[in-house]
């Protein structure tokens, strides 16, 4: 499935690039990431616990950053497999400077397989979009030195 889109980040492109290359930052930005351990040049072993409402699954896989054209373009590959199936997301991220900070455009493919694929078709698209949203949100928070795991106290209380 195609995954394309763009997000505006309120940080400068150099900073965004830095954050996107930093495994410590990535480990806190990738939704559900339990650990990210370097296994080679720009390659990390990924332990993921995906949690989405009642759905949960542990995945073991890797994150690869490649085809760097610093500081504007690189390819990110996230793959993992577990009991509920396997997933792979691969895409090129292009950073450009805009008035508000940085625009990160992404263009890639997401695949799922195994049990998730045969029962969760209708949710792949919305879930992928949700994960991307969460990823950038957590990335930006780190750019501002905030704890990405602390949820915003959104004004949801009407009383």
């Amino acid at each position: 499935m195609k995954v394309t889109g763009a997000r505006e980040l309120p940080i400068k492109p150099e900073r965004a690039w830095e954050l996107l290359q930093d495994p410590a930052v990535l480990s806190k930005a990738i939704p559900g990431c339990q650990s990210l351990v370097r296994i080679g040049e720009n390659q990390y072993e990924l332990k993921l616990k995906m949690l989405l409402a009642s759905l949960s699954g542990d995945f073991l896989g890797k994150v690869t950053l490649t085809d760097h054209e610093a500081p504007t373009k690189f390819r990110m590959i996230v793959e993992g497999s577990g009991k509920i199936g396997f997933l792979k997301g691969e895409g090129v991220l292009t950073l450009s400077s805009i008035l508000q900070g940085t625009e990160v455009a992404y263009d890639g493919e997401a695949q799922i397989g195994g049990k998730m694929a045969s029962v969760g078709q209708r949710l792949v698209d919305t879930t992928a979009k949700l994960m991307i949203k969460r990823f950038f949100k957590k990335l930006v928070k780190q750019g501002f030195g905030q704890d990405p795991d602390v949820e915003d106290e959104e004004e949801t209380d009407d009383v």
Binding site: K83, Q111, G113, K115, A117, S118, V119
Partner: protein, 784 residues
């Protein structure tokens, strides 16, 4: 001589032809029918399969240690343990056919998603499920290929590395002089027509209970199958057992539709486990497993060409048929598309045909017989092409068909594909369907509707089919059928049939036949099937053969028996001038009678025997049909499309079917309705979709749309009757008719609704989105 017995009820009214409610139903409506999953054997273990999540991968290693450590787990076996068990058997053959060895558990590679790689055995199914999750398989994933045309493209991944072109066979058939027909054609129309993969989806999935009794060296198997005897033969070969030491039972079977006309790896795996452990073992397929690992139907990409004269006379048909076989051959896989070729001309007198069938391996579960098996695809092809030709010639599609029909005085009719159509009056069914639907009135309505901007379609199919499978030379495992009729000492009657009904109602229809022939009450007849230890060898239920072949076997066994009864009666009445009717033998001169019950008692008591007669009253007959039968019909679908959404509404469904004589109209209606539902399912909703990475993405009822009560139209059903000369019952078979006739009628209706916009063809399923896109892109291009 003993003459005092309980008199058997006699009856003169005919049962055949009556809408008799089914005699087998009480067990189903009270929840007491026994299906495989209902069989509980003391001490039985439960097996669970570990399956590949990948379409194509090498197996690097399998770690079973965690599963074995789990309390309640008895054993785990992998492909290394079972590799000496015989492979899954393909019964079909074609010249040059490539047959991959189909291990019952994958050994070093997996070839389709769901491919079993290990079996866990536990004390109950909950533990088996836990243990299956414990098993770690390390795969090296390779690129899968799931579409047959992509598999044929140069550089495509090889499903079986030994055959890089992914081609299992190429089959040619030519009749007449097609090249000349096309060279001389005044009109040629061409179309690529696909027939998507479908999942048979009987409501009962597959299941096996195997019980190896070491002391008796006998394997007892209950399995959900349409072919108990063939399954026993094939399993005994796979397991290396003597056939007479395998006792196989098809208990109540919750639907088959062709997908249980097979012998699967799991049946052998479960038997293997039982033999290893000396314990009964049960395995019940989940729906998810059923989607992934039970054979699927259809899977065609067809390239059609029709040659015709300007007056509409069709002179030639060319077909290139690309069959998606899946990763292996199941029992009949490669034979199915050859049935499509036989069916190519449909009901039309076309003398020149040319077909090329390419069987292609893909990383999908094998295709095989699914309701209609090859014939729905062919019928869809020719019926679509007739509409395309009609549009090209600006002829009414009904007129074009009528012009090309084989005439009713041309039977028996030898087709260009080598068949010999038995009997028919094709124009009569079309006339009747047109009359019931008020075809002329509908066409007027359509003109009005178009003026209002509404999209109304009238679609018809005049279909034919090849049924009553079939003469043995044309059927891979033999096409005869067997029956034993036994009159018990009490005069009650037991019928043992070699077919294996699983919803078709032969416990009723065969009792109707027997009751009429013997002149006894239908409740005096018991029909038994499915148990290889009780019933003589038989072939099974598929290919619309149950009544036409199996029923005929019963009928001829009854004739044999009637002869014996008459001879007994003659002895009793001390007369040679006697006849048997209405349950009694009557002396034609004196009018004296002797009842069947009296004769039966005497036949077993055997104080005195008629000359040359053995004791007992039983006959076993094997019926070998001389030909297939060829039912046909005309279906008309009136549809209306919501131009804003592409949603299709079926306004009317008219089906006129000629299936020869009808034994029980109630049961026949039910068969037709069910067939139509499956045919509409293909036309409108059902689709087994594999993505390019080898994943089946419509793997549950959540995404694979089945016909539902609210989506099915009311079916207006009627008949014409041209009895088949092939069997003495004059029946043709009804199991597949509805499925074959309905699909093209539905598609033709929707294409017709859009034809004024220039739409000529739409591939199935006709999803609202597809229709909406066509309406949006063709809007404003209104032709007429």
């Amino acid at each position: 001589m003993a003459t005092t017995t309980t008199p058997t009820t006699t009856k003169t009214e005919k049962y055949v032809g009556q809408r008799l409610r089914r005699r087998e139903d009480p067990r189903f409506i009270t929840g007491t029918a026994t299906y495989v999953e209902d069989i509980k054997l003391p001490g039985a273990y439960y097996a669970g399969m570990v399956r590949s999540p990948h379409g194509a991968a090498k197996i690097r290693s399998i770690d079973v240690s965690k599963a074995l450590a789990r309390p309640g787990v008895i054993a785990v076996y992998t492909g290394q343990d079972t590799k000496n068990v015989g492979g899954v058997i393909c019964g079909a053959d074609l010249p040059g056919l490539r047959k991959p060895h189909h291990y019952i558990l994958a050994v070093d590679r997996v070839y389709f998603p769901g491919h079993p790689v290990a079996v866990v055995v536990a004390t109950d199914k909950y533990i088996a499920a836990d243990a299956a999750d414990d098993i770690e398989v390390d795969y090296e994933v390779t690129q899968a290929v799931t579409h047959p045309e992509k598999a044929l493209a140069p550089g495509a991944p090889a499903v079986h590395p030994e055959w890089p072109d992914n081609t299992a066979f190429v089959f040619h058939q030519v009749g007449g002089d097609p090249d000349k027909a096309f060279a001389e054609a005044e009109v040629i129309v061409k179309q690529r027509i696909t027939s998507q993969r479908l999942v048979a989806n009987p409501m009962e999935t597959r299941g096996v209970v195997a019980d190896w009794r070491a002391a008796d060296r006998t394997l007892h198997i209950h399995t959900s199958t349409q072919i108990p005897h063939l399954a026993r033969t094939l399993l005994s070969i796979m397991l290396g057992l003597e056939e007479n030491r395998v006792h196989l039972v098809a208990p109540m079977v919750g639907g088959g539709f062709g997908c249980k006309l097979n012998v699967y790896a799991e049946e052998a795996i479960v038997a293997f486990v039982s033999m290893k452990l000396n314990k009964p073992v049960k395995w019940i397929e989940t729906r998810r497993e059923n989607f992934m690992t039970t054979i699927q139907g259809r899977g065609h990409v067809d390239y059609y060409e029709l040659a015709a004269k300007k007056d509409g006379t069709v002179t030639g048909i060319k077909l290139k048929l690309i069959q998606d076989l899946g990763a292996y051959h199941q029992l009949l896989t490669p034979a199915i598309p050859t049935l499509s070729v036989l069916m190519m001309p449909g009901l039309y007198n076309v003398r020149n045909i040319k077909a090329e069938v390419v069987g292609v391996f893909t990383n999908c579960v094998p295709t095989d017989a699914y309701r209609g098996a090859g014939r729905p695809e062919a019928t869809h092809g020719i019926e679509r092409m007739m509409d395309i030709l009609a549009a090209e010639l600006k002829m009414d599609p009904a007129e074009l068909r009528r012009k090309n029909f084989v005439g009713k005085d041309q039977f028996p009719f030898a087709t260009a594909t080598g068949l010999n159509y038995d009997s028919g009056d094709y124009a009569a069914t079309l006339d009747k369907a047109m009359q019931i639907s008020d075809y002329a009135g509908l066409r007027k309505q359509q003109v009005e509707a178009r003026k209002q901007g509404r999209l109304m379609g009238i679609g018809l199919s005049t279909y034919g089919e090849i049924c009553a499978m079939g003469p043995s030379p044309a059927t891979p495992a033999g096409g005869w059928e067997s029956a034993t009729v036994r009159i018990e000492p009490s005069g009650k009657v037991t019928v043992l049939t070699g077919i294996s009904p699983h919803g078709q109602g032969e416990e009723t229809t065969f009792a109707q036949i027997a009751a009429d022939e013997l002149g006894v009450h239908v409740d005096d007849i018991t029909v038994i099937h499915g148990d290889t230890a009780i019933v003589q060898y038989g072939i099974g239920t598929f290919g619309s053969r149950g009544t036409a072949v199996g029923g005929t076997a019963v009928y001829i066994a009854l004739q044999d028996l009637k002869d014996k009864i008459t001879r007994w009666g003659a002895m009793f009445l001390n007369s040679e001038d006697v006849h048997f009717a209405g349950g009694v033998v009557t002396d034609n001169k004196t009018g004296q009678t002797v009842a069947l019950g009296t004769i039966a008692a005497a036949a077993y008591r055997a104080m005195k025997l008629p000359p040359g007669m053995d004791p007992g009253l039983m006959a076993t007959k094997f019926f070998e049909p001389s030909n297939f039968t060829y039912p046909f019909g005309a279906h008309i679908v009136v549809s209306e499309i919501d131009p804003a959404t592409g949603q299709i509404e079926i306004r009317r469904y008219v089906a006129v079917d000629d299936i020869g004589n009808i034994l029980n109209p109630l049961i026949v209606d039910g068969q037709l309705h069910g067939g139509v539902a499956q045919g509409l399912g293909q036309a409108l909703w059902e689709n087994a979709v594999y993505d390019d990475n080898g994943q089946l993405i419509t793997g549950e009822f959540m995404d694979y749309a089945m016909p539902k009560a609210s989506t099915m139209p009311w079916i207006e059903s009627a008949h014409t009757c041209t009895p088949s000369p092939v069997n003495p019952l004059g029946v043709k078979g009804v199991g597949e008719a509805g499925t074959i006739g309905s699909t093209p009628a539905m598609v033709n209706s929707v294409v017709d609704a859009l034809s004024h916009l220039g739409v000529r063809h739409i591939d199935m399923p006709l999803t609202p989105e597809k229709i909406w896109k066509l309406v949006s892109t063709h809007a404003g291009s209104q032709a007429a």
